[in-house]
Symmetry: C2
Subunit: 302 residues, 2 copies
Amino acid sequence: MDMQISFLDRLFDSGLLIETGVEGLYGRSGEFEGVIAAFERLIDRVGGEDGAEAIRFPPGMNRAFFEKSGYMKSFPQLAGTVHSFCGCELDHMSLLKCMEEGNDWTGEQKATDIVLTPAACYPLYPTIAKRGNLPVSGGLYDLQSYCFRHEPSNDPARQQLFRMREYVCMGTEAKVTEFRQLWMDRGVKMMEDVGLSVEIDVANDPFFGRAGKLLANNQRDQNLKFELLIPVTSDVKKTACMSFNYHQDAFGAKWGLNLEDGAVAHTACVGFGLERIALALFAAHGLDTRLWPENVRKVLWG
Amino acid sequence: MDMQISFLDRLFDSGLLIETGVEGLYGRSGEFEGVIAAFERLIDRVGGEDGAEAIRFPPGMNRAFFEKSGYMKSFPQLAGTVHSFCGCELDHMSLLKCMEEGNDWTGEQKATDIVLTPAACYPLYPTIAKRGNLPVSGGLYDLQSYCFRHEPSNDPARQQLFRMREYVCMGTEAKVTEFRQLWMDRGVKMMEDVGLSVEIDVANDPFFGRAGKLLANNQRDQNLKFELLIPVTSDVKKTACMSFNYHQDAFGAKWGLNLEDGAVAHTACVGFGLERIALALFAAHGLDTRLWPENVRKVLWG
């Protein structure tokens, strides 16, 4: 009898993803990376005329900014702080003894000033605030980085380290809500152009605990977050491959992002989950990119 | 009187690097990233005919493999372990209270299964070992990832999160030492082609503590590590922008990398410090890539 081989196993067998022994932590083959690079070039073409400022932050951010962001209030279970050994030679000998004996040696590690970036735009807000007031016409930024979320899972679309491409808009309410609508329309068109069936739905973030349910309900009621859903591992429970978030003036007020006329900036971000989009393409068109439909290959590789 | 403005300040002022408030942790402008991308394409052209297998690991690796690697013996001060909150709702309330009071909240974080990658090739060895024996002709791999080293510094060439491109060769002693020599020759030629003055010298890793001095001396005496040095912040104290490492059969024995004829594989790796190379180019040719010498621009952008 045929075993039902899971999508993750098929990705491992094909070599597109490479096991590391940790759930949600995978190597990528050159072919997998080629799909991500091709989709990023598509994003560049679609968004390129908008004049966004490209900034690339590394996969870690200043812990002080992370603390101020409020992330530990909302998603404490997902955050990753970076810790290091800060001892002397004697401490080092104890550490090695502890490791040799197979005991937990990590308790002596001390938190550094760095936290893994939870979403590509987190380091942006304090960076822009430091520059001073924004012009009334606002600001537009193009970001990409590896992001970390501590949620081990055997769903290949839920990885602990994954890349997020983002555009962030800051300005008047009218400007940033128009920006969000523009990218919702563009996102649907882009996915259709690469042969993916999509729907857009209102959504909420996975806020922690019972108190988080109120935050989630509030977010849904106010239509602050939309997601673009595509089948990856299931046609029923689809995967969010893009998100469209309107922060009202909450981030502007928190970080001191002001327009030249004195108004607090509204902000919105649109994010592409690059691994999820690549996985959606492999799920829809098969694991060999050479056999993908000609029209899809043309959009991605010209 | 003119102040001597440091290279790091000039990089901040030009916007090529972006301050984050943490030493050695910087954002990069689109122009900075364009130089890295161009240099990577040059690497692709020079190494492309060799048929290396491209693998891209995320910036974190399995902690069990990290522990086995022996990194904590040699460089405990540089490692970064990833820790997360693993508590319940009550723990969360305590955590938030702790943060509100401005106290250290990080002590309650627990180590996850993930450690930040210290060098791009660390996740490779266990991955290849798992595949079984290597052909006698060996294996060749093309890697790139963000790497972490906890060494806060105001030297822009010493960043805590930086990218390393690597080729790793596994096989007979003759094969891997030939590979290393090939890339030493290629590296010198590549740097000369982009107008950088280079020298190659024997080197050693920054092993921890007094016992580490023995390891360092041994590494130098056996010519196991060479570095390609280029002026970045100083013409006197040059910066290692490439390294060429021969591991003998130490990694082969540790990870169980065997050739089909039963011999333990020898291994060698050549690494490009991508941020350092970009900084060397900016230091040599100025902060505006449009004004770089025509022959250098031609090599990088065609």
